[in-house]
Amino acid sequence: MADRVMSSTAALAEALHEEMSRDETVFIIGEDLIAHGGIFGQFKGLPEKFPGRVIDTPISETAIVGAGLGAALTGMRPLVDMHFADFVTCAMDEIVNQTSKIRYMFGGQVKVPLVIWAPDGAGLRAAAHHSQSLEGWFVHTPGIKVVIPSEPADVKGLAKAAIRDDDPVIFFQHKKLFSKEGPVPAGEHIVPLGKAAVKRSGDHVTLLTYGSGFYMSMEASEELSKMGIEAEVIDLRTLKPLDFDTIAQSVKKTNRAVVVHEACLSGGFGAEVAARISSELFDYLDAPVIRVAAKDVPMPFSPTLENFVLPKVEDVIKAVRQVTYR
């Protein structure tokens, strides 16, 4: 079947329609799901089609995640909606101490097929409590997989893969990218967890990115091309497990790497990627690995302030020119 052009929101809804039709143990739990179709309208149509399987909760993040976990341990396959990724902070015990550790701590006795869906990211003038990119925390938590798609086709394919996976997955989706459109395959389209995608080929530098950083990197690549610099853009898609083979293959070819993410710089996922490239691919490098990231402050509200804090296309171009000495 030919690909249709649709938004990331529609791609997620399609994945959920398909998975809920396929498996009656799949259900969705969170705040404001039924009347509003999710706070971003991302679950529209699902409450009517699957009555009783889209469950509205009180504002109780701790109990919401715990409820998902307890249900996952007893035969169900829940998707927990965090409302905003920022609110994981209200359920950190359930995510970090319980969900991520239960299978291991109990010696592999049980599977934990739980998806925690967390809309993240800045750029909506939503200020410090509704704008964060927190993926790094969970990469640093053994026992939970971290998925963060950018394009609509990957949203669909990774959502389906995450729901079918028997391990817990935290699934970040950038709020500003909900309306971004792209071709999406109809029907059974699965993107396996742990596989990065080379989305633009180039010989001069590797851009390693995900989420909103992907679109920034693609835009920068077009500008760089005009200067005669061809960037290879790798959309990492899953941060854990990380597809380091795809990264290595590209860096061995380009000998230069820039990591681009919207999360703040210090202790971010870019540091992990840069460290691995430096320690495993040192002999291939012609320049240090550079990170493009947000500045290390809480996300401010006023547009002039937020724009200043967030990484921009020009920052990517600057970083690439630095590592290519151009």
């Binding site: 109780s60 715990g66 307890g70 101490n97 701590m105 006795q109």
Partner: protein, 322 residues
């Protein structure tokens, strides 16, 4: 509630097994045979046995750091328990969990939890799953007085109440949360009165009277199975050992402990009842005690003869699809 002889003796046997398990675990810990920390439930046997005895094998329990008694009462394998306490490969969690993390999903033990009040939200999930799967199972969530002061208690009881989930929230009020007296840390004397805030029944019982616990738990289970919702059950008891083994217990005097031991021991009280009813003779008492000891000796032998996990096994059991 009239109880038949076999049921009464079965309750007694389980209480004896738990008391002897905990006593032996304490001795083995003191002898350096059990690494880490252990938290014993000596003196709280009426609560574990009273509640678990009214559950079915397919019902769920969530337990705590002080959970040996609960899992034994739910039917856990003593061999796998001792092996886990001793960090062996044959233990319940292959040596990855230890005393604070015993689980047996095959008999509904969804796990002990090292985080105080960590079990509440998970119990809500088990209750929700029961409702979605349309079975008549129930979930019992054991917790201490200290846990009732955490936010998870509020979120979980409210959620369980609005959805009428089949859950027994079982508070074991043992007078201490770690080193802090309940009377200092709780705004109420009886934890069960907090049930009013969630519009669910709250029952306070003498938690050292196994038959009283059983009767209250039966009421709560009946209500849950009928789809009428959760109950907050408070079993008033006393923590006879320190918070952990080796706790210097500077926060209380030993006369207080001795008084509970001498005047309000749940096992002694039940023994007295059974002897008065002539259900338990001195001979039968001896026989039951010896049988429990033999079983525990076998369990310890199994654990001691079991191998430690190989170091690199630390990298196994995290993901199903790595």
């Amino acid at each position: 509630m009239p109880e038949d002889t076999e049921t009464l003796l079965s309750l007694y046997r389980t209480m004896v097994t738990i008391r002897k398990f905990e006593t032996l675990a304490g001795e083995m810990f003191a002898a350096g045979k059990i690494p880490g920390f252990i938290h014993l439930s000596i003196g709280q046997e009426a609560s574990s046995v009273g509640v678990c005895s009214v559950l079915r094998p397919d019902d769920y329990i969530m337990t705590t750091h002080r959970g040996h008694g609960h899992v034994i009462a739910k039917g856990a394998d003593l061999k796998k328990m001792f092996a886990e306490l001793m960090g062996r490969k044959t233990g319940y969690c292959k040596g990855k969990g230890g005393s604070m993390h015993i689980a047996d999903f095959s008999i509904g033990i969804l796990g002990a939890n090292g985080v105080v009040a960590g079990g509440f939200p998970i119990a809500v999930g088990a209750g929700l799953s029961i409702k979605l799967r349309k079975t008549d199972q129930v979930a019992a969530c054991f917790f201490g007085d200290g846990a009732s002061n955490r936010g998870t208690f509020h979120e979980a009881l409210n959620m369980a109440a609005i959805w009428k989930l089949p859950i027994l929230f079982v508070c074991e009020n043992n007078c201490y949360a770690s080193t802090t007296r309940t009377s200092y840390a709780c705004s109420v004397e009886d934890i069960a009165v907090r049930a009013k805030g969630y519009n669910i029944p709250g029952i306070t019982v003498d938690g050292n009277d196994i038959l009283a616990v059983r009767e209250a738990a039966t009421q709560a289970v009946t209500r849950a199975r009928k789809g009428e919702g959760p109950t907050l059950l408070e079993n008033k008891t006393y923590r006879r050992r320190g918070h952990f083994e080796g706790d210097p217990q500077k926060y209380r005097n030993q006369a207080e402990v001795a008084e509970w031991e001498q005047k309000n021991d749940p096992l002694f009280r039940f023994t007295t009842i059974l002897k008065k009813k002539k259900i338990l003779t001195n001979e039968l008492e001896k026989e039951i005690q010896e049988k429990a000891e033999t079983e525990l000796r076998k369990a310890v032998k199994f654990a001691e003869e079991s191998e430690f996990p190989k170091p690199e096994e630390a990298l196994e059991d995290m993901f199903i699809n790595p």
